[in-house]
């Protein structure tokens, strides 16, 4: 049912990773992505693996939780693996089966690219699992601030993201309620072909849009009546501050990145 949709998958906690500044976490996630792309052969994924396991240990997240973030991507993963496996050119043939040929290089590339995808997703999951959506928005706003000098609406962007996130649960609940109300009137959302199902969504979507617009109007009014006029001169309740742990996290991460680059360069496997 609709209730099961969770976009913000934040797991509340008070671990070391949770307490890092959101800006640190966003920047280090970018650094981590660079690190994953620097891995030159499948063996050297041990470094991001160690890094992820360290993050999991420090944040109190279970590895299973991190891996479950790969689940929505399983088809993409299988596709990546299959395409690389069958369509990479390589010297040594492992299996020849009619038109299909699997080469050693192809197998290596397939493993490499699939690993890359898995590591990218699990690593970024650490960010979204340990950072509340609000903190994430604050962090993004703060990081984009320098761009506002050249006219980039960083505050407005962050405000829109915050509002959107804030209303996801509200609208999900509303959708669930409307769906139930229509089901009580005999509506059927679960059977029939694609066209029939799309048509069945109309009684759900029309009231949902009407109420979303109504809410948007009310929210705009409420914000204006509290003198909201954009980002200029606004102060924050919680001011973001870098601490010592942020420095340590950055040092460890940069070290891991260099290790990855150096290993790939000098130790050929």
């Amino acid at each position: 049912m609709l209730r099961d949709i969770t976009l913000g998958q934040y797991m509340p906690g008070n671990s070391l990773i949770h307490r890092l500044d959101p800006r640190t976490k966003i920047l280090l996630t970018v650094l981590y992505i660079v690190m994953v792309f620097c891995v030159s052969s499948p063996v050297w994924y041990v470094i991001p693996l160690a890094y992820i396991l360290l993050c999991a240990k420090l944040s109190g997240l279970r590895v299973r939780q991190l891996l479950s973030s790969v689940k929505p991507l399983r088809f993409l993963l299988i596709l990546t693996f299959a395409l690389n496996l069958f369509f990479s050119s390589g010297e040594t043939t492992l299996i020849q089966w009619g038109f299909f040929r699997i080469s050693k290089e192809g197998l290596m590339t397939a493993v490499h690219f699939s690993m890359r995808l898995i590591f990218l997703v699990t690593g970024t999951a650490v960010l979204t699992l340990t950072t509340s959506p609000i903190a994430l928005c604050d962090g993004i706003e703060s990081l984009l601030k320098p761009l506002s000098k050249i006219g980039f609406p960083s505050h407005e962007l962050a405000m829109m993201m915050t509002i959107a996130l804030r209303f996801i649960p509200t609208l999900t609940e509303e959708a669930d309620k409307i769906q139930k109300a229509q089901m009580a009137r005999g509506a059927d959302f679960e059977s029939g072909n694609l066209i029939k199902r799309a048509k069945a969504m109309i009684p759900l979507l029309v009231p949902l849009f009407v109420s979303a617009f109504r809410r948007a109007g009310e929210l705009a009014m409420a914000m204006e009546s509290r003198c909201y006029h954009g980002g200029e001169g606004r102060t924050r309740l919680r001011v973001l501050k870098f601490q010592k742990i942020d420095l340590w996290a950055a040092l460890v991460s940069v070290a891991a990145l260099f290790l990855t680059i150096l290993c790939g360069k000098w130790i050929k496997l």
């Binding site: 409307i178 109300a181 229509q182 089901m183 009580a184 509506a187």
Partner: protein, 288 residues
């Protein structure tokens, strides 16, 4: 068509850190033609309970038996159940979606596969039942009506399915006194004239006291009290402990008794109390 609720328990999101028990071992039998007032504080499980009655929610354990059929079992045709049990949600006007009032009211009957003539007959009948004028309103957009009218149209949408049991979840929430009275009168007439079973969720004691034949009081997912309004309103302390109260008239009567006036015990409707005060004052109605 009696409804038996047997040891019904429902937990939202079981096996997760957010797990919450909304219903805890509720047992209740609802007979034909009853008018049940389902009372309880916000979050007491009233809405969760009524959503089990037409299969919108599945219990964690326990059964709901409608007309001898266990609707919590797999493979039961829920559309058959929903034909018999109409459920009007809180703020039902937010579920309107069609271009015209007539089309919206016809949504339910259409879903259960009736003929066009039958649908038309039911739509006319339902709109008339909720006290609206079919000729004036049928071709208008439901979005240009007033709040009270929209709610009537939404209720008509459920009545058009001609249910044997009608469940209303806080049908008067957010209406002005005039709108409230007309909705309550409409429900009273429905119960009297068509003789259907009505279950009305409310936390307004004054609304429910004059309508219901039996009250069911919920608190924290449990059923704490059931009985006729007169029996239930005797338990003022219990009601107050679960965040409810007694009707204003009952409150007045009780305070008059406490102040030493000679008024019979257990009065709760406005008429009764007025009568008693008049009797006290002039020994007869109409004395003032």
């Amino acid at each position: 068509m009696p409804i038996q609720i047997e040891h019904l328990t429902h937990a939202y999101m079981p096996d997760s850190p957010f797990s919450a028990v909304a219903l805890d071992d509720v047992c209740l039998t609802i007979e034909d033609g009853e008018f049940i007032g389902l009372l309880g504080h916000t979050g007491s499980g009233k809405t969760t309970l009524v959503q089990h009655l037409n299969g919108l929610l599945k219990p964690t354990s326990g059964r709901v038996v409608v007309d001898g059929l266990d609707i919590t079992e797999k493979g039961v045709s829920l559309i058959e159940v929903r034909k018999k049990i109409g459920l009007v949600f809180q703020y039902p006007e937010y579920q309107l979606f069609e271009e015209t009032v007539a089309k919206d009211v016809a949504f339910g009957p259409k879903n259960i596969g009736l003929s066009d003539e039958e649908i038309d007959r039911r739509v006319r009948h339902a709109i008339q039942l909720v006290g609206l004028n079919y000729d004036k309103i049928a071709e208008r957009s439901p979005f240009e009506l007033s709040g009270g009218q929209m709610r009537r149209v939404a209720i008509a949408g459920v009545l058009a399915m001609e249910p044997k049991v009608l469940i209303l979840d806080e049908p008067t929430a957010g209406l002005d006194p005039a709108g409230r009275n007309s909705i309550l009168n409409m429900i009273r007439n429905l119960h009297k004239e068509s003789g259907i079973t009505i279950i009305m969720v409310s936390h307004n004691m004054d609304d429910i006291s004059t309508l219901a034949t039996r009250l069911v009081v919920m608190s924290k997912g449990r059923m704490v009290l059931t009985g006729s309004p007169r029996e239930v309103f005797q338990q003022r302390e219990l009601l107050e402990s679960v965040g409810l109260g007694v009707p204003q008239a009952a409150q007045l009567a009780e305070e008059l008794i406490a102040a030493g006036y000679d008024i019979p015990q257990g009065l709760y409707t406005q008429e009764e109390v007025v009568e008693a005060i008049l009797a006290l004052h002039g020994k007869g109605a109409g004395a003032c």
